[in-house]
Every structure is written in structure tokens, then in C-alpha cells.
Symmetry: none
DNA sequence: AATGAATGAGCCTTCATTCAT
DNA sequence: TATGAATGAAGGCTCATTCAT
């Protein structure tokens, strides 16, 4: 009976937590991190002020939970695909196209947490905060690495320095994200960079 | 007489302005952009609240002025050097070393406006604000381009796509700056990327 | 249950609102409108700064609410009396005496919102603001009109132009209010004007 | 020589004073009294901040000087005319027309100090301040009185109570001024009141 | 658990007045 | 006299966080 109750409560609690997080994600995607107030979350999640604090004790905590709940979802398809041993060039092109699309659209119209993530990162400096950003970057690196290893395996490329190349790709993506958010990024610039990247693979 | 007076006053005003901007720069370097309040500038520049408003009407205005006053100073030496037709490889290595040093030190110990610039960029979206960031990025691109053109001229490299390569370098620098500020950047990672960059030049 | 809660909360909220408005009225009566700051209301109503903003967002809003809550209260007695078909001359004299008393006392010792109302009116120019003052003036006109119509009905007076006469009375009251507040108004002046007014009725 | 100097300085000082007052009048007519800052006067009179304080020590002082310099100018023509023994009815109509015009136009388009005067009066309460408003009202009363006396002299009217009638006129003008500034005053309302006033004269 | 009213620290901005030159 | 830079008091507003119910 008691166990039963705990179980139910636990479910209720977990469910409510998710409701809040989903609302929070929408808010963060639209307003970034810094402009978001508790009031925004309260309105979006239709919970009371005090109620929200029973689940999350600050906007920071909420944001970290939002990010953690979402990360690793992106490019899940690609990672799943790799296991099916697809053609390397097809896969790489598909992966690059995915990034291009994201850079040109998501970034601008409030459907991505990218801006919020930057705003959070640049204003938070604890080891834990750095870890969050590192983890996110490593996800990109790991995916690239997997793709490259697939290429090596298929003898499509000759790859002596996977680590540096994966870093390189991640850095360029990071750089282009910044450009897209804070300045201007043209489609041709993306194409040029992806072409350089492929050339690099060919020559290595 | 009147002209004389205006001239003197103008000097006084300009001087005071610079004193404030110098204090502001220290504050922005230490606290970033978002955490800075008018109060901080007031304390740092030892001016009164009302006095500050005679020169600058908001933290934004102060920051723009700070950036404008500083931009183009960095890497001035390199740009001056180029005109002396130095050896390409020596110059490139010197330039890369400069970046490496900056990435590893300035960024961490509050002597650079980099973090403040990111905080500003990600929270300001007007065309003018984007222009500011673009201008900053273009400065890096222009310098790289000059260096590359020097290399072509000296037949040290064979360069078919200066624009994409300059973009590439700028993006990697941007990516590494983000890493250094928000996550972790190891010296070897910098070395690896710079090596990749030089390989790319060699092979093009 | 929810309804119950809402009901209770609503009552609490309405009650608090009234407490604030009552404090505000005292403040406005004492200091006029322009000299009143949010701080004054905060102190008078013993609420916190933020708390006050839950109910009212500016001194203007507070003043409008104060006026609205009070208007139509004054001379309610007279209006009620009219319905009982009292003797015209008795009623008129009673009404005039009421005005005389108000002009000589309330105005001076900070128990009336008159000064505050003038300060507000002369510094606010929106259609809505003008409407507020018009409404207040119309209240006086309507009351006079009712009294005059009672006189006509009782054949105590012969009244060809109720509208102009009501306007006339209202204007004289308005003029005397200004005099009382800004210059000097002697009891005899009031008596003289009321006598002129009654003569006018007799002769019309 | 010394006297000469003093004389010149005195002239310069008086001249500058007038320049300031003329500028101030324009500013007060346009912005009322309360919205006017020293900065406004400084800009309008093209004098320095410190310089202004050599002539006037506060906005209040400036305003009183502005009013004093202007008062008694209005309706000067009428007062001059009276001395020429014009026809009473013509003169009265001309006087009323003048008031009508003023009420319908000057009041609205920032060419009159009326609003400023009200704003000043309702926020200043010293005996001296009340005196200022009284003097202004007495000016109207005195003019009406002169006109009425002219009428009596010409046997155009039979006037037993000049004082109360003059008060009455002044109060109605005051009331209509308030209406015009703070609510709404229609031409017909003015006509109605002036007609009532003339009827009163006829019947007395 | 849940609610939302209440708190008050913290920031921004304006302006009359002073004062060194 | 004349200048205008400098001062700082005064007021406005927001929001994360707490707490009685």
C-alpha cells in the first residue's frame, strides 16, 4: 500500500517534472536563457509559482535539466544509421546536410536551444557548467568520429588523425553557429567549409 | 577665443571620456558584459552617477564605445609587419603563436574583452549589433588573407581559394575561443588545429 | 473547491485593494496628486514596494482607482432626498449649504481630493483623462438639474433653460473651488454668488 | 566712468533678463509649468546653466517673473478703450468676444500661460503664491467693473451690486477656463453663459 | 504538495543645484 | 560675470525567492 502510494506519487512527480521541462524548453528556445524569468516558465507550464519551486529551485537548475533531457537526441538518427553500415559518402553528405539545415533555419526561428546554451555558457563558469558544454561538444565529435571510422573501414578515406579532424569539424560547426547567431552566415559559406572538410579527408 | 575654449573643453571632455572607457574596459574584461551595471563603472571610474550619464547613457553605449576604441589594436603589429615583406613561414608561425597565447591566457584571467563580446553579441540582435560582430570577424579574416597573399607572392604556398581558407581559419579561431571560454581548450588541441591548417595550405 | 478558493482569494485581493485605496486617498488628500510618490503610498498602506505593484502599476493608476471608488459618493444624500419630493426651497438651500461648507473647510485641510484632481487634470491630456473630469463636472450638473426640475414641478420656479443654468452653477462652483484652492474665497463671496443664482431662478 | 560702466552693465543685465524671460514665456506656454526643466529654459534662452542662475535661482522664481512681466498686458486695449467712453453695449460685446476667442483657441495651442498658471497655483501654497493668483483674478474683476460702471454711467444698465456681478463673471470665466483645459468647452456653452450674464445685467 | 501574495534587494534614470575655472 | 562639468538625492520598476495557508 505504502509502496503503491510512493509509486503513484513518484509517477505523478516525474510526469509533472516533464510537463515543466517541455514548457521550459519552448520558452528557452524562444527567448534564450537570460531573458527568461520564472514568470515565463510559470505561465508556459501552467503551474503555480510555489509549485515550480518544489521541482526546480532556480532558472539555472531548470535550464540544466532542460538541456540534459534534450542532449543526445539530436542526430540520434545518424548514430543509429551508422550501425547499419551505410555507404560512407552518402552518410557523410546526409550528416552535413543536416547541419546545414540546422544552421540556416533552427538557429533563427526560436526552435533551437543553441542561443540559450551560449547565453548560459558565457555567464556560468563552474566546473559543472563547463562540463555541460564539453559534453555537448563531445557529442558532435563522437558522431563525426564514428562516421570517419566508418569511412576508414570502407576504405573510402585514409585517416591518420581522427581526433584532430573530429575536433576540426566540431570547431567549424561551433564557429558557424556563432556566426549564424551573432553575425551572418551565408549558405555558400557553409558549402565552402564542408567542401574544404571533404578535401581534407580525401588528402589525408 | 571661443575656438580656443572649445578646443580646451573638447580636450577635457575627450580625456574624461577616455578615463571612463579605460575603467570600463577593465570592468568588462573582469565581469563580462551582462553582469556589469552602471554602478560598477561608476565605482571603477570614480565618477558620480550623474557625471557618467554626461558621457554615456547606458551600459550598451559604454560597451560599444569600449569595443570601438579597442578594436583594430590587436594584431596591429602583425599587420604592420606584413608591409615589411617578412618571410612567410616565420610570419605565419608568429601569427599562430600570438593566437595560441591569447587563447590560453587572456581568455582566462580577465584581461580580454572576448567573453564580454560574446555576452553582448548573443543578447543583442539589431543590424548594428550584428555588424559589430561581423566587423570583428572580418578583421581576423582580413589579416589571414594578407598573410596568405604574402605566402602566394613568395611562392611558399599555392592558394586557389583564399576566401574559404580565411573563413576556415576565422571559424576555427571562433570555435576555439568558445571552447576556451565555455568548456576546455588544451594547448595540444590548438597545435593540432594549426598543424591541420598548415597542411591544408601546403596541399592546396 | 476551485471556485471556493477563487472566491476567497478574490475577496482577499479586493480587500487588500481597498486597504491600499483608502491609504492612497488619505495621501492624495494631504499631498495633492503631483507630490505623491509610490513610496508615500507604500508607507501609508504598510505594504512592500513589490506588493503594491501587484495591485497598481503607477501613481496614475492608483489615482484613477481612488477617484473612481469615491466618485458619486458625494451628494449621494441629496440625490436620494430628491426622490422623496421634498420642498424645493428647503432642498436647494440645503444643497447650497453643503457646497458652502465643502468650499470653506474640506478644501483647506486635506480631507478632499479636489486639489489632487486639479493637479491630475492639468497634467493629463488623454481623452480618457478629459472624460474623467467631464464626468465629475456632469455629476454636479445632473444634480442641479434634478433639483431645478423639482422646483419646476413644484411650480416654485419657472425654468426655460435648465441646461444653461445647470452649466452656470457648475461653472461658478468650479470657479470658487479654484479660488479656494489657489487664492482666497470669503464666505460672503459664496453667499453673494448663491444669492445671484437664486435671483436668476426667480426671474427666469 | 565708473557710473558709465555701471550703467552699461545694468542695461546689459536688464536686457539679458528680458531675453531669458521671453524665452521662458514661450517654454511655459508650450509645456505648462511642471514639465519645464531648467534645461528647457537654458536651451530656449541660449544662456549657460550657471549663467541662468545668476539671474534666476529656480524655476519658480523664473515663472513668477514671467507672469509678473506679462500680467496686465492682456485686455490692455479694452482698458484703454474704456477711457474713450465708447458705447457700452459695443464695448461689452467686444470684451466678451475677446474672452470667447481666448477660451477657444489660445488655451489649446500653447500660446497662453493659462495651463502653466494653473499648474503653478495648485502646487504652490505660500501667501505670496496665492497673492499671484488673486492679482490675476482681480485684474479680470477690475476690468469687468470698469465696463459695468461705464454701463451705469451711460444708463444702459441699472447696477446695484457691481462687486458680486464682477465676481460672478470672473468665476464663470475661471470655470470655463478649467473646462477648456481639462475637459471640453463648446462654443455654444460660452454663448449661453454670456447670454445669461447679459440677461442678469438687464434685469438688475 | 500546491498556491500565489508578499518581500525587498538591486538597477536604472533624471534634474536642480553647486563650483572650479 | 559666465561657463558647463560634476554631484547625488529622489523616484521608478522588476524579479528571484519565501512563506502562511
Amino acid at each position: 500500500m505504502n509502496t503503491m502510494n510512493n509509486h503513484n506519487l513518484s509517477n505523478t512527480r516525474a510526469t509533472k517534472r516533464l510537463i515543466i521541462l517541455n514548457s521550459a524548453r519552448l520558452v528557452f528556445a524562444q527567448k534564450g536563457f537570460l531573458a527568461v524569468t520564472m514568470q515565463d516558465i510559470i505561465q508556459a507550464s501552467k503551474i503555480s509559482r510555489g509549485g515550480l519551486y518544489l521541482y526546480f529551485h532556480s532558472v539555472d537548475e531548470l535550464f540544466i535539466a532542460t538541456i540534459s533531457e534534450r542532449s543526445n537526441r539530436q542526430f540520434d538518427d545518424i548514430r543509429a544509421e551508422i550501425k547499419q553500415n551505410p555507404n560512407f559518402n552518402v552518410l557523410l553528405n546526409s550528416y552535413l546536410a543536416e547541419h546545414k539545415k540546422r544552421l540556416l533555419t533552427n538557429v533563427k526561428n526560436g526552435t533551437s536551444l543553441l542561443r540559450a546554451m551560449y547565453e548560459y555558457s558565457f555567464t556560468h563558469d563552474s566546473p559543472k557548467d563547463r562540463q555541460l558544454k564539453k559534453k555537448q561538444m563531445n557529442a558532435t565529435k563522437a558522431t563525426v568520429r564514428s562516421i570517419l571510422e566508418l569511412g576508414v573501414q570502407q576504405q573510402a578515406i585514409n585517416m591518420p588523425n581522427v581526433k584532430a579532424i573530429a575536433d576540426n569539424f566540431m570547431l567549424i560547426i561551433e564557429g558557424m553557429s556563432v556566426l549564424a547567431l551573432a553575425a551572418e552566415l551565408k549558405p555558400e559559406q557553409i558549402d565552402d567549409q564542408f567542401k574544404l572538410f571533404k578535401d581534407q579527408l580525401a588528402k589525408n
